[in-house]
Point group: C2
Chain length 258, copies 2
Amino acid sequence: MPGHLEILALPGIPQVRSGDDLAKLLLDAMKAAGLRLQLGDVIVLAQKIVSKAEGRTVRLAEVEPGDEARQLAADTGKDARLVQLILDESKDVVRVRKGAPGVIVVEHRRGWIHANAGIDQSNVNSGDPGQWALLLPEDPDASAAALREALHEQTGVWAGVLINDSFGRAWRVGTCGIALGSAGITTAWDLRGQPDMFGRTLEVTVVGRGDELAAAASLVMGQAGEGTPAVLIRGLASENSTATAADLIRPREEDLFR
Amino acid sequence: MPGHLEILALPGIPQVRSGDDLAKLLLDAMKAAGLRLQLGDVIVLAQKIVSKAEGRTVRLAEVEPGDEARQLAADTGKDARLVQLILDESKDVVRVRKGAPGVIVVEHRRGWIHANAGIDQSNVNSGDPGQWALLLPEDPDASAAALREALHEQTGVWAGVLINDSFGRAWRVGTCGIALGSAGITTAWDLRGQPDMFGRTLEVTVVGRGDELAAAASLVMGQAGEGTPAVLIRGLASENSTATAADLIRPREEDLFR
């Protein structure tokens, strides 16, 4: 248990384009800030730049909405083409609140329960606002693992890599950073069966540590114009965990709230 | 938007007893660590020490369970006296999963949706494990405000004060630190209507910043024997916000998941 963490925004990451080498952009930004990657470091990337680097941008003009998408779009005041993309990315529509703007909460193909299948239309393209959408990375855990490999190749250091996103929550106001992809980090920290300070066994303590790290990074990322999409968390012990962010998705059969 | 935060566990907080002066314990711990409170600092306290200082410990032998508590206890493998306390602290039982151990999710009198009304039996009393329970503070926002006042009185500095707790979440594995009480901090950060980097207006971005701060502090608090119940977050701009942690509770009528 470390007693001192630093959460450092990495300035100088340029606008990311499809095909960009994120490991290189990160290491350049660290170098410019006088930082060298070291054991125990966790690099947190905003989902958005990972999606952009992986070419997950879709032009809405190329989407043909079906009947379900048109109906849902009418109910929620959304663009029917955007709704078609949401449906294409999802296994199930979990909740709809009608209205303008309405809300569409889905179960994403990869299991996340969130609004709009995580599809974002902000900060996507400068020329034509509103005409583009950005899907989540195809496999964020794989993206994190590949980036971890690339960082190791260029520095010799096995750092942790986290891809975070902002999710709304049931019962709580506001979004919170969560771990969408992860490599090298203990994402779910299982304390069950450990004794407390007085020797009583802890009952139900699994800590969603990957999400807590993602939330901490969100604090310095910002959301709008001044956003910095990459953050260094320094001060953790090196873990080399094989855990993934998918471990933080509660299996449907254990979930009381679907 | 700060670019550099430090998350520092404050060592040397002793076992807290009913009536203890938390401001004094905190300032003593900071002094011993060579730290002086400064503008922008946020002090995060684990709910448990606030509850203990406020005498929220209950001896189970003094609780007489009623019929509803006995039935629910039988369904979930819990102590009926503990279940009576849970019901006493709650407005509504939201979900029950039968089994041993089962799960009781309630709406607390103050609006939180969480397991067991936040009542904890770990780390409560050394002499008689399992025979004591610790309720949440009566009014955590008031507790945070009082502590902020006391810290100001003794240092001249208006710091932010946050009381955090670990809540389970719908859809996600593991607990995450959340803001139970808050004073001086922008808990819900409303970015709606701000332009993104390309001038497109952000649609639905309220950031649950109080919860992100609480989660960041949880990273260095630990959960079991080695826990440090007080954390300093340094590097934020001073805010003097009048917001509270209650602002982060989603009103029932806006909630799609009850």
